[in-house]
């Protein structure tokens, strides 16, 4: 399988462990990622707060680049990126005038024909059967709380992915790979996202609630598919523990970490050794 790859800023910056992990994991599954040439920022939260046109134009250029590269499908592992890309795509699809206007602005013909996938969807394309066949070391010791965060399934009309309030798609993989998953309440709550800069307290509070609820339901780790969630739950975990005087000690895995581990890849190949919270 050969698909386009839109890393977004996070996977080339603060979350390059995520990139390392998913590249290694997908390589083992024979999925070739081809990075989109000259990709630019997706606009994320900043653009749509400032300028509607800009918030469509930025993802539109990326979509145009993907089309130019001839990609039918493109992985955007950061849920913020995939949401922005899909939102732009839907806006363009319904509006020929906008499509022409955007093509002019981004100086590239954009049609919006490339399908944007999140990481879970790429694994879904690989298929449970192939994953099970490639399973080398079942994840017996994991009791995982699958955490989707706020953006992977929302807005539901845009991303059209899983049940937006009670998603279960990650659980399906974890169980297939021999892990236990816990039934818990904070699957789709907000971790605080980018609020770190404006109000760190908010992030610590929200993330603390998520970690506590996971632990209370018997989890010994969390599995995420969003770079921002990982930062807040992993990197900030020592701060959280200090502030609330508790010890969580919960390892935060990317989905590709656990799939990679199940395929027999060493933790170092997946960048797990670079996480802040290690195994207890």
């Amino acid at each position: 399988m050969n698909i386009g790859y839109y890393p977004g800023c996070a996977l080339h910056g603060s979350s390059d462990d995520y990139e390392e992990s998913l590249r290694a994991c997908l390589r083992a599954l024979d999925v070739q990622l081809q990075e989109i040439d000259e990709w630019i920022c997706c606009g994320a939260t900043a653009a749509h707060a400032l300028n509607q046109k800009l918030s469509t134009a930025l993802p539109a250029r990326n979509l145009a680049l993907a089309e130019r590269g001839g990609f039918g499908e493109m992985l955007a592992p950061c849920p913020m990126c995939s949401m922005q890309l899909i939102k732009a795509q839907k806006a363009l699809a319904g509006n020929e005038g906008l499509r022409r206007e955007m093509s002019g602005i981004v100086e590239l013909e954009v049609r919006g024909t490339t399908r944007v996938l999140n990481l879970i969807q790429v694994f879904e394309q690989v298929g449970l059967d192939r994953l099970k066949a490639a399973l080398k070391s079942p994840l017996k010791s994991l009791s995982a709380a699958c955490y989707y965060g706020c953006l992977l399934t929302r807005p539901p009309d845009v991303v059209e992915f899983d049940d937006c309030e009670q998603p279960r798609s990650m659980e399906a993989f974890l169980t297939a790979l021999g892990a236990k998953t816990v039934d818990w309440s904070y699957r789709t709550e907000c971790c605080g996202g980018g609020m770190t800069l404006a109000s760190e307290e908010t992030v610590l509070d929200l993330s603390h609630k998520i970690l506590s609820n996971a632990a209370a339901h018997g989890a010994n780790c969390l599995v995420v598919a969003c770079p921002m969630c990982h930062v807040n739950l992993d990197m900030k975990q020592p701060d959280i523990e200090r502030r609330y005087g508790v010890r969580h000690g919960l390892v935060i895995y990317y989905l590709s970490d656990v799939v990679g581990m199940a395929l027999g890849l060493p933790e170092s190949a997946l960048g797990i050794n670079r996480h802040f919270v290690g195994k207890a």
């Binding site: 049940d163 937006c164 309030e165 209370a216």
Partner: protein, 666 residues
């Protein structure tokens, strides 16, 4: 040569403003066959009608054309006027120069010309009108009531007390409907069962009511005054004519832990059971899905124990026929399912409230059972998960209702009231408890209703928050309910022990199939359609079929009962005449030319065409033919359009008339 009178109405200003009525009358008077043409300010008024009558007599008119509004509005009026003057009422035609002309045009000259053309058409039609006689059909003075909830019960008793026989079909083992399971009822808080069960007993004992419980309507044939209903009596495995209702069978049944339908899964029942102690008929039924004898020829204890010999494991469904003259549909409602599975793709469900997977998140009817003295907890308030007394209860209104994202835009109307009732009754049972209500608007229109809600807030201390709940999570054995108070502008979190969802009211399962059998319309949500929302609220478009109760729209008990009595009175009106009159504008088949291809039979939406034989007076077979049943034909004309041999025609709109009208224009 015809002698047609044309009467052009000004409709006050409505027509005269745009159409030059004087010029029009002049022009029309020159049309061939027109004896006289005149205009008048309001032809429908008393003096207007008198003018029509006078002219019919004075000019010896043989047909009349009224150029005014839509025939839906006043055709009946003018037919009556013509009849009074001795003219056959079916020789009256209308030209709609209001809706079809003056209301939709501005240019006076063009509108006047168009009005002339419209009148020309009607004149041509009137020239070829036949004198028709209304069709008389005999009436079977017996009514069928489908559904034995409070609405069906009320309708049945009213009809029976008026002196007519009633056949009631209820699909559950007992009549009573939802009301039998309610605790106390707003706005007066009288005990639901105390006021309902005497009415149920009355139905059971009424000499003129024949009750088919645990039965459904299988087939409907015939037409107003003359329906033949086939009823499926589901296998009950208990012969209710032998059974004494002693209760030996259900006390001996070892399988006592089946979820009780009557308690909405909050309580349990045996495999042979009476749904609730006051059931009518107070006779048990065996649940074939769980009975060990029926599943695997085991057990059989109830049979051994039954002194009356009423148990019959070989029982099968039986079909019986009943003849009735009118039908009342009272099939009621169900609630929006708070679980994950929805019966329609357009309904989204409530993942944010856990899809009802949290044991202590229940729907409002389940809460009624917890409150009810005859409920699974004998009226002691215990939450389902662990039986603890809930100290904080959250009520969420509009679950499903008024929410396009969840699939139902309409207001379920009664939830504001029963939620206030719930908050109140809860406080009466748990004095140190706190009720929290999240609402969108409080809709309490009705006698004593607003006062009732104020009482819940002011006397019983219910906390009302105007806002929605975004999420319910479970933490440390508590339900954490997060929502917004939009009046205070703050987010709110309540740690609750029990959450009650006021789920939207939807029509009962299977109502669409039933409506199709009866030729009754229903809306996109499945509620049955009345034939006019204001003026014909209990009639339907199928003659002789009436609706009442929550199957027509969400409504409370007082409204259901009022509507049921209205439906009963319409049935009594239907039965009051010796014969029923139907409009004669129906199809007929020329049996000489019919080639018996039966294209019409297949096309007829009312199943009004049958296969017949033409025989000589001595009974010698001549040929096959199609034949119209005048009782069923609604005069739609579909058969005329499909008949390849041109043997079908429609009285009051014959092919000849249509050709004449078209020719007059070209």
């Amino acid at each position: 040569m015809s002698r047609i009178g044309v009467f052009i109405c000004w409709c006050g200003e409505n027509i005269a403003r745009t159409v030059d009525v004087d010029a029009l009358a002049q022009e029309v008077s020159k049309f061939p066959g027109v004896r006289c043409a005149m205009n008048y300010k309001y032809v429908c008024s008393d003096p207007g009608q008198a003018l029509v009558r006078e002219k019919i007599a004075a000019e010896k008119l043989d047909a009349v054309v009224i150029a005014s509004c839509s025939p839906h509005m006043h055709l009946k009026t003018f037919r009556r006027a013509a009849q009074l003057a001795g003219l056959n009422p079916y020789k009256v035609e209308m030209a709609n120069i209001r809706e079809h002309c003056s209301w939709v045009h501005h240019d006076r000259a063009k509108a006047t010309a168009k009005a002339a053309s419209l009148i020309r058409l009607s004149v041509e039609k009137a020239r070829l009108d036949h004198e028709l006689q209304p069709i008389r059909v005999p009436v079977t003075r017996r009514a069928l009531v489908i559904g034995g909830g409070v609405a069906g019960i009320q309708a049945a008793l009213d009809i029976a007390d008026a002196g007519y026989e009633v056949v009631m079909v209820e699909r559950e083992p007992s009549i009573g409907g939802k009301m039998a399971g309610l605790s106390e009822t707003f706005p007066t808080l009288d005990c639901s069962q105390c006021i309902l069960t005497p009415r149920m007993v009355e139905v059971g004992q009424h000499p003129r009511i024949k009750l088919y419980s645990y039965s459904e309507v299988e087939r409907v044939e015939g037409y107003i005054g003359n329906f033949t209903i086939t009823i499926r009596q589901k296998a009950r495995y208990v012969d209710i004519s032998k059974c004494t209702g002693c209760g030996d069978c259900w006390s001996v049944c070892p399988l006592k832990r089946n979820k009780s339908e009557f308690d909405y899964g909050m309580g349990v029942r045996a495999s042979i059971y009476v749904p609730f102690p006051q059931a009518v008929p107070a006779r048990p039924v065996i649940d074939a899905k769980t009975c060990a004898k029926i599943i695997r020829n085991g057990c059989g204890l109830c049979e051994k124990k039954c002194k009356a010999g009423a148990i019959n494991f070989q029982d099968t469904d039986k079909l019986v026929e009943e003849k009735v003259g009118a039908v009342v549909v009272a099939t009621g409602y169900k609630l929006y399912d708070i679980g994950e599975k929805q019966d329609k793709a357009s309904l989204a469900g409530y993942g944010e409230y856990g899809y009802g997977q949290y044991k202590d998140v229940i729907d409002s009817l389940q809460f009624e059972r917890l409150l009810s003295a005859s409920g699974p907890t004998n009226g002691v308030l215990k939450r389902p998960s662990d039986g603890a007394e809930p100290k904080n209860v959250v009520f969420i209104s509009c679950v499903g209702s008024r929410d396009n994202a969840k699939g139902l835009p309409y207001c379920s109307k009664i939830c504001c009231m029963y939620t206030a009732k719930h908050a109140m009754l809860y406080k009466h049972k748990v004095h140190d408890g706190q009720a929290h209500v999240f609402y969108m608007d409080i809709r309490a229109g009705g006698k004593g209703y607003e006062e009732f809600v104020r009482r819940a807030i002011e006397q019983d201390g219910a906390k009302y928050y105007r806002g929605r709940v975004s999420k319910i999570t479970q933490e440390d054995g508590k339900l954490v309910v997060r929502g917004a108070d939009t009046l205070a502008g703050v987010p709110i979190t309540v740690e609750a022990d029990l959450v009650v969802l006021a789920a939207a009211m939807r029509p009962a399962d299977g109502v669409a199939e039933l409506a199709q059998k009866l030729n009754v319309g229903y809306d996109e949500f499945g509620f049955l359609l009345e034939s006019h929302p204001k003026l014909r609220p209990v009639e339907t478009n199928a003659a002789g079929v009436f609706v009442c109760g929550a199957c027509q729209a969400p409504k409370d008990i007082p409204e259901s009962v009022a509507q049921a009595s209205a439906a009963a009175s319409k049935v009594a009106v239907t039965f009051a005449a010796d014969e029923l009159m139907r409009e004669p504008e129906i199809a007929g088949i020329n049996e000489q030319t019919c080639v018996a291809c039966y294209a019409c039979l297949r096309a007829c939406p009312y199943h009004a065409i049958e296969q017949a034989e033409v025989r000589t007076p001595r009974g010698v077979f001549v040929k096959h033919t199609a034949r119209v049943n005048p009782g069923l034909c609604m005069g739609c004309g579909t058969c005329v359009a499909v008949c390849p041999s041109k043997s079908a025609d429609l009285e009051g709109f014959t092919e000849q008339q249509i050709y004449a009208m078209v020719e007059s224009l070209v």
